[in-house]
């Protein structure tokens, strides 16, 4: 189960899907007091086990990527488990199958590197003093990766998008509302 996050809600309607990165050091499972979050042998961090989860929300606070969500009505945490019902029987996760631009891609690191020759897959993230490696890769421009082979998330939080002046000229010129009575 994935969810969409707004990038800059005050100024834009742009959203980004939040998929689980399937960390090799899952912080959500580390902080779970009920021992409910487990990782299967194929490296997929599963949703909370229903008999164990107490819906305390520790995982929501701890996850550096903001993936888990607690559903108060059902008293359980649910997160992206790479569509385990599909991937375990040889299908792609739903998000990757429906993504029209293949921004979400399901395959090996080699395959995605060949499909996108200008970028390099990266799976190492730095959160202050915490280093995390993930099973899910993100594609980074090669120029950046050669400088630093990991994503420094806390440093990137300070980055702001470069402001661009956009001027929209109405079709035909002039005031488009000239004929409108007010």
């Amino acid at each position: 189960m994935i969810h969409l996050e707004f990038i800059d809600r005050a100024h834009s309607v742009q959203t980004v899907p939040v998929v689980c990165m399937h960390c090799e050091q899952p912080t959500c499972a580390e902080v779970c007091p009920a021992d409910a979050i487990k990782r299967t042998g194929d490296g997929v961090v599963q949703s909370a086990r229903k008999p164990r989860c107490i819906a305390c929300g520790n995982c929501v606070l701890a996850c550096p990527f903001g993936v888990p969500e607690v559903y108060e009505d059902r008293q359980i945490m649910m997160k992206c488990d790479m569509c385990y019902d599909r991937t375990s029987v040889g299908k792609k996760p739903m998000c990757a199958t429906v993504c029209p631009s293949q921004a979400l891609f399901f395959g090996t690191a080699d395959e995605v590197a060949r499909l996108r020759p200008l970028s390099t897959p990266v799976n190492r993230f730095q959160f202050g003093g915490q280093t995390i490696s993930t099973r899910v890769l993100i594609m980074m421009p090669q120029a950046l990766v050669s400088r630093r082979p990991y994503v420094d998330v806390t440093a990137a939080m300070e980055d702001r998008a470069r402001e661009r002046a956009i001027a929209l000229t109405p079709v035909g010129g002039g005031d488009p509302f000239a004929d409108v009575e007010v």
Binding site: E24, G41, F106, G107, T108, E111, T120
Partner: protein, 212 residues
């Protein structure tokens, strides 16, 4: 990383060369994991041998969470069967103690005149928490039963006009004249309290626990 020797793959989704990307590829295509039983790395990136012991007690990996050692299994079996054995001795000791205590003392319940025909009276016998119910069914007919329903020990209530004792918890009913179950979940009759009339006074003499 990109391998120059391989053909670039067609980026369209449904091309034959991309069959592997739909998940139908053998597991060997994907980056292999170090050990399927131990895929998780501790947050400090040090090996599992130098991690504190609680990390092995509360593993994050599913296979280890489900793993039961032969020693743990044997410990569980031995302790459980030991508990059952001790329980058998406990039951035997309880029976022996009860037989040694013998029957409780005869005790006055009420005067006959306090219980008109068709009415009931509750009393405690033999202990103060063993509630019983006394019903006068006729001019010279008295019955008394323990009030505990034999299903789940709810208090039964006498319905003299219908000739039953009813348990309100699960609608069980007992025959008023014999205490035997008539309907509902109870299978055993109520404990019968034997009565004796001396000088127009009712005395409870003993409690008879019945199984059939």
């Amino acid at each position: 990383m990109a391998d120059e020797s391989q053909e670039p793959i067609d980026p369209r989704i449904d091309t034959p060369a991309r069959e592997g990307l739909t998940g139908t590829a053998p597991a060997s295509v994907y980056r292999p994991l170090r050990d399927a039983e131990q895929v998780t790395i501790a947050p400090d990136w040090r090996p599992m041998d130098v991690q504190p012991a609680w990390r092995t007690d509360f593993p994050i990996d599913w296979p280890q969470d489900h793993y039961v050692e032969r020693r743990d299994f044997m410990k569980f079996m031995v302790l459980t069967s030991l508990a059952f054995t001790v329980g058998q001795f406990w039951i035997a000791a309880e029976n022996w103690l009860r037989r040694r205590r013998g029957q409780p003392q005869m005790r006055r319940v009420a005067s006959i005149d306090e219980v008109p025909v068709g009415t009931a009276l509750t009393f405690a016998y033999p202990g103060e928490h063993d509630d019983c119910v006394l019903v006068r069914t006729g001019e010279n007919q008295f019955v008394a039963y323990g009030q505990k329903c034999t299903h789940l020990s709810c208090a039964v209530r006498p319905l003299a006009e219908q000739g039953i004792l009813q348990c309100p918890c699960h609608e069980g009913s007992f025959d008023l004249s014999s205490g035997r179950p008539l309907a509902g979940p109870p299978r055993r009759p109520l404990a019968r309290v034997h009565l004796q009339i001396v000088n127009r006074d009712l005395y409870a003499t003993r409690v008879e626990d019945r199984t059939t």
